[in-house]
Amino acid sequence: MSPEPRVPPPAPAPPAAESAPQGSAGRQGGDVIHDIGYRNYDGPRLGRGYARRSLYVQSLRGCYGLGRSAKSKVLPMILLAVVCLPAAMMVAITVQGHLRQQPLGYNNYVIQLQPVIGVFVAAAAPQAVSLDLRFRVVPLYFSRPIEHSDYVSAKFAALFTALFVFTSLPLAILYLGALLAKLEFADQTGDFALGLACSALFSLLHAGIALALAALTPRRGFGVAAIIAALTVPYVLISALQGIAASQGVGSAPGWIGLGSAGTLIDGIQAAFLGGHSNFPGGQDPTTGQASVYVLVVAVLVAGAYALLLRRYRKAGL
C-alpha cells in the first residue's frame, strides 16, 4: 500500500548531501553514515477543504476495507458479491430466455435485498466511526485544520457513497443486462434512473440511522448489533402488522403502519413516486398523501441523525 521507495534507514546519500547544513548525526569516524538531515517543507498546504476530502476518501475506502488489513476486506467484498449475484443471474435468465421483461424491477431489487444491504451497513458504519472512537483517533483529527462539522460531513458522505455504490452496482449490472437482452432502451433507462434515485434515498436514510447509532459506542460489536436490530426488528414487526391489517381489510391502514420502519418508508416512497410497486402485504401501494408523509418522515430522520452526530462530536475534544 505504500508506494514510497523502501530505502534502508541509514540511506547512503550522495556526497552532495554531506554538506547539508542540518546533517546532524554520523559524521564521526571512517565508515560515515550520511544523514541527509531534516528537510523543511515549503510546498503547498491545501487547508481545511482538502483535509475534509482526504478524510472522506479514506473513510470511503475503509468501508470496503481498502487501505486496511486483508482481514477487513473479506466481509465487504463477500457482501458485494452476494448483492450482485442475483442481478447477474437475472441477467443470464433474461438473456437466455429471451424474456421481454426482467424478473424483478430496479426498485424492488433494492427492497428485496435489504437484508444483505443491512448487514453491509451494519459492518461499514462502525468501521467508519466506532474505530476512531475506540482507538482515540478522533482527537488527532481535531488537531488538524478540520472542524467538528467537517468530520461529521465527511463520515456521513463517505458512508452514503459506500452504500450508494453497494446498492447501485447490482442495478448497473441489471441495466447492462437489459441492454444486452435488447429490452426497450428508453423504458429501461428511465427505470434505471428511478432505481438509482431509489437506491440514493435508501442509502441516505440508512447511512444516517446507522452512523448515528454507531457513533454512540466505541465498541464495534455493539454498533453492529444495534444497527442490525434497528433495521430488521421494526421492519419485521411493521410488515407483520401490515399483513394483519391487510387481511382484516382495513383499507388505508397498511400505508400508515408503513411509517414505522426504515425499510417500509423507502418501499412506500418508491412505490408512490419512483414508478415501482410496494412489497406491502396485500400489495397495496400507499396513497400519494401517505407517501408525502413518508418523505417528510425520511427528511426528519436524516436531519435528526445528522444533528445527533453534530451534537455527539461537538464535545469530543482532545
Binding site: E4, F142, P145
Partner: protein
C-alpha cells in the same frame, strides 16, 4: 510563539485556567503541572478547539479563537493517550495524517518516509501498528505530529509509559526536534527532572494559575556546591564536623547538607557541603579557577586532619530544589503540586539517590 493574556477557562464546576498570562518564546519549553493543573485545557485552547471564557491567546501570531484552522495547519499535536489504530501500518497512518494536515498526496508520502526515519522507525513501519512496542508507538505519535513540518509542536506527556532508556531516547529526540529540525516545542510533563535536561524554558502552572515562568538556567543557577564525604579517625571521631570547622577556618562557606537535599538521608551528617564559588575568590568570569582553588583547599584540609576522603563531587542545584525551598506556595495544598520524586531520580547525581524517596513524599510542596 505562544502568548496568552488573562486566559481563563471556567467549567460549571471548576476553574481550569485562572487569568493565565504567559509568553512562550521559540525553543523547547516545558509545561509542568500536576494532573488537573490545567495543562490539557491550555493545549485545547491553544489548538483553537475550546473557547476561552475570558482573555485570549495567540499562537504563531494568530488568534486561536478566530484562526483555529490556520493555527492547526502549522502546529503539531502529540496526545498523551494511545491514538493509533492497530490494523494500519505506521506509513499508511502517518501519510493519512499528513494529508489531514493539508499536504498533497506525493508530499505526504515523501514527508512520511523522512519523518519516520528521523524518529527512528525503519522497516517496521510497514507492519500493522498493533504489534508495536510502547516506544515505537510513541515514535509514530511523534512522527504524525511532525510530518507536516509544523513551526510548533505540542507534546503531551511524551515520555509516559516508557522505560528509562526509552525515556532518554525520547528526550534527546525532542531536543533534536528543536536543534536539528528548527521546530519549537511545548512539552508537558509532571516530571521536573526530565524538563530540566530538555527545555530552555520552564513554565509551571498549578490550579490554573502561573506559578513560575523562567529559563531553565534561572532555575538551576545559583551557587554550585561541592559535596565532600570523609571518614572518621581516632583523633577526629566526627570527621565531618572536624572538616567543617577546618574549612570554615580557611574561609570557605560551609553549609548544612540538609539544606540542599531537603531531608536528612542516612549518612547525610557525614558529608559537608562547600560553596564551590567562594566569596573570597569568586568573580564573574573564571569559575573554573575558583572551583580549583576550593578543591585544593578541601584536599589540603582533609589531609591536614588525617581523614580519608570518601567522595568529593560537584553538585548543581536542581529545579526541584528551587521548588522545595523557594517558590513553593503554602496554598498549593497536599498532593497538588508538581511531583518531584520520579524526576529527580534521573538527575545526574547517582550518589544522592538514597535521598530521593523522602523528597517525593506525597508530592507536598507546602
Amino acid at each position: 510563539m505562544i502568548a496568552t493574556e488573562n486566559l481563563t477557562k471556567r467549567f460549571p464546576r471548576v476553574t481550569a485556567l485562572d487569568r493565565l498570562t504567559v509568553d512562550i518564546t521559540p525553543g523547547v519549553t516545558g509545561l509542568v503541572g500536576a494532573n488537573g493543573a490545567g495543562k490539557s485545557t491550555l493545549i485545547k485552547i491553544l489548538l483553537g478547539l475550546s473557547p476561552a471564557t475570558e482573555g485570549g491567546a495567540t499562537v504563531l501570531g494568530m488568534d486561536v479563537s478566530t484562526a483555529g484552522s490556520a493555527v492547526r495547519e502549522r502546529v503539531g499535536y502529540m496526545p498523551e493517550h494511545d491514538c493509533l489504530p492497530p490494523d494500519v501500518s505506521a506509513t499508511e497512518f502517518v501519510v493519512h495524517m499528513a494529508r489531514m494536515a493539508g499536504l498533497p498526496a506525493t508530499a505526504a508520502r515523501e514527508r512520511t518516509a523522512d519523518t519516520l526515519r528521523h524518529v527512528g522507525l525503519y522497516e517496521e513501519r510497514y507492519r500493522p501498528m498493533g504489534g508495536y512496542s510502547t516506544g515505537m508507538k510513541q515514535r509514530v505519535k511523534l512522527a504524525q505530529a511532525l510530518v507536516h513540518d509544523p513551526r510548533l509542536v505540542l507534546l503531551d506527556e511524551p515520555t509516559n509509559g516508557l522505560d528509562p532508556v526509552g525515556r532518554d531516547e525520547m528526550l534527546s529526540l525532542i531536543r533534536r526536534v528543536h536543534t536539528d529540525f528548527g521546530i519549537s516545542v511545548l512539552v508537558t510533563s509532571h516530571l521536573l527532572g526530565e524538563l530540566e535536561r530538555t527545555c530552555d524554558h520552564v513554565v509551571v502552572i498549578d490550579g490554573g494559575t502561573l506559578l513560575r515562568s523562567s529559563a531553565t538556567a534561572d532555575f538551576t543557577r545559583g551557587t554550585p556546591s561541592l559535596a565532600v564525604e570523609v571518614t572518621d579517625s581516632d583523633t577526629h571521631p566526627d570527621g565531618a564536623a572536624a572538616l567543617r570547622s577546618a574549612l570554615a577556618e580557611r574561609g570557605l562557606t560551609v553549609r548544612d547538607d540538609t539544606a540542599a537535599d531537603g531531608a536528612r538521608a542516612p549518612g547525610a551528617g557525614r558529608s559537608v557541603l562547600v560553596d564551590a564559588a567562594n566569596a573570597d575568590t569568586a568573580d564573574a568570569a573564571g569559575n573554573d579557577t575558583d572551583d580549583e582553588a576550593v578543591y585544593d583547599a578541601v584536599r589540603d584540609a582533609v589531609l591536614d586532619l588525617g581523614l580519608g576522603l570518601v567522595r568529593m563531587e560537584q553538585r548543581r542545584q536542581r529545579i526541584a530544589d528551587v521548588f522545595q525551598h523557594g517558590t513553593a506556595q503554602p496554598g498549593a495544598g497536599a498532593g497538588n503540586g508538581p511531583q518531584y520524586g520520579h524526576g529527580s531520580a534521573h538527575a545526574p547525581q547517582p550518589a544522592v539517590h538514597a535521598t530521593q524517596p523522602q523528597k517525593g513524599d506525597g508530592g507536598d510542596v507546602a
